[in-house]
Amino acid sequence: MTVINSDTATADFEGLVQPHRVHRRIYTDPAIFEMEMTRVFAASWCYVGHESEIPAPGDYRTTTLGLRPVLMTRARDGAVNVLLNRCTHRGTVLAAEASGCAKRFVCPYHGWTFAPDGQLVAIPFPADHAVEDRSTLSLGRLATASYRGFVFATLNAEPEPLDCWLGEAREAFDTIVDRHPGGDIGVMGSPHLLEFVGNWKLSWDNAADGLHATFAHESYNTLGEMVDTETVLARDPGSTPMVSKALRNGHMVVDQRPGIPQGPWATMRRVPFREPLETALVDAGEESLLDLATGSMINLSLFPNLLFVGNQLLVIEPVAVDRTRLQLWLTSAPSAPSEIDLLRLRVDEDFVNFGTPDDLDMFERVQRGLSIPEMEWIDMSRGLPDSDAADGDATIYGPITSEAPQRRYLAHYAKLMTTPAATRAR
């Protein structure tokens, strides 16, 4: 299929991302946003969904990848496919539901029919149709690969193998998955969908930002203080032994575990229906599993669209230069006692209600502030100089007050924007 070589689609991007500051235009310029949807989102591996969401042949789920409607399906042979959700006849979006099960995807416009692996299997009234080789009219296909059941896809014409792309991030990824008994992690049905009037990178600037917890989340920490609970965000960011890591390819890790020696469960207030479930686990001698009810205390961010936060998968879905949708999926522990998932549901709501609204407000305030043309720059210099290997591929370690993760992901972002990879549907 057509190869898009976006070399020619240049904008004057040079100089907008500098080591210590970035220009407001990368958050406000619609032309830059449009380039990002191909140079960043189509050209990178992006998280699409989890294999457990489509257990049976014909199961599917829809989402977007850099604004492109895509379809994750389970084919008859059990393989997972990520396809462009677009009829090859006139371009109609085939599947309109968020998820479902279909033996065939029949286009509602003219009846072209596709198998879950994307092959065109029927055209109505074929006698008067000129197409001889139907294989050229299969649905557009993305390169697809899974890691620990998490499905990633890309339109990059020559993608780096997924394992290499994840690189050092695999260590945190494995830790998050392996804390589930049997390494068995699932994803529950419907996500929270939250939107904010702001650029998608604002959630990236926030994801490994250890300093904002003290200020933006003061209200969350105050709720903890009222009941003598020291939340994970209430630690002194200047002295906590928590560690932030800036990895290759823009990935980021904040490891909060060194700062909470008493374990994750001790950081949680008493969520609804906690006591009977907690008592049941303690009585069954499974008290040690309670930490599973809350997050791993490792925030892992896989650039450009997946954040592991608590027990949630936070998928960042750009909608427009100043509009972003966050998909918040809750993971489950299918092989743990079922009290764990019951607790997770209530724990999940805690930050969504008393933390996330404050983040959303910050994102929208920043976007409004960035509308001022006379104030061009955003400062990202905290923690400079980056001590080790800032120019190489090695991980940069720092205290959680360092802005090294933001600098590192933005440097990777700038590289994607200025040396674009070719993208194509397969």
Binding site: S190, L194, S338, F354
Partner: protein, 196 residues
């Protein structure tokens, strides 16, 4: 009325603890209220007339920001539930919120906290309660009503519509269960922290 079955427990502790069964029983009760609503017969006129002032009073308190007064109107075993869809179950699906009496009180504390940036400055809301219907229930009544909420904040505006189910008990018609279904939650809304 259809009663939604709780998810059968899986994993190593397949025998459900009594504590877990009690939690699931409350969740099932709420899911049944939600799922069974469309099958109910025509409402009881007397109970509908009785429910209306309680529902309108609640809407007025919330719009006025009188959250402490609002908090008084709940039973000790109360639950406020905002599911993400009308087919949701509290024990298997994420919710926007599912508050017991304790978390309701925390929520009011949060709203009063000056650093709760998501509600400071606060949303200005106008609720329009309509289509009230009510039926008899143990020790009280069950009411369904439609709800329009108009919200202004930071110079921006959004209007959300949905319906609410109230289980009101005792002489004072205190809220034991409230379920608020807002279909837009399934497609993405901005900072929904004004929804109660």
């Amino acid at each position: 009325m259809t009663v939604a079955a709780a998810r059968p427990p899986d994993g190593p502790s397949a025998e459900m603890s009594a504590a877990q069964a009690a939690v699931l029983a409350r969740y099932d009760e709420m899911a049944a209220l939600l799922v069974g609503m469309d099958d109910r017969p025509r409402a009881d006129p007397g109970l509908t007339a009785e429910a209306a002032p309680a529902l309108l009073h609640e809407a007025r308190l919330l719009d006025a920001g009188r959250f402490e007064d609002w908090l008084e109107g709940w039973t000790s075993d109360a639950v406020l539930w905002l599911p993400l869809s009308a087919r949701a179950h509290p024990g298997t699906d994420q919710s926007l919120l599912l508050d017991d009496r304790r978390r309701l009180a925390e929520r009011v504390d949060w709203r009063r906290e000056p650093s709760a940036w998501g509600q400071h400055p606060p949303s200005r809301t106008t609720r329009v309660v309509g289509s009230i219907e009510a039926w008899p229930a143990a020790n009280g009544l069950v009411a369904r009503s439609t709800l329009l909420i108009d919200e202004h904040r930071h110079g921006r505006h959004q209007a959300l519509a949905g319906y609410q189910i109230h289980e009101l008990v005792g002489d004072d018609l205190h809220r034991r269960t409230k379920i608020l279904v807002v279909p837009a939650l399934g497609t993405g809304v901005r900072n929904p922290s004004f929804l109660l």
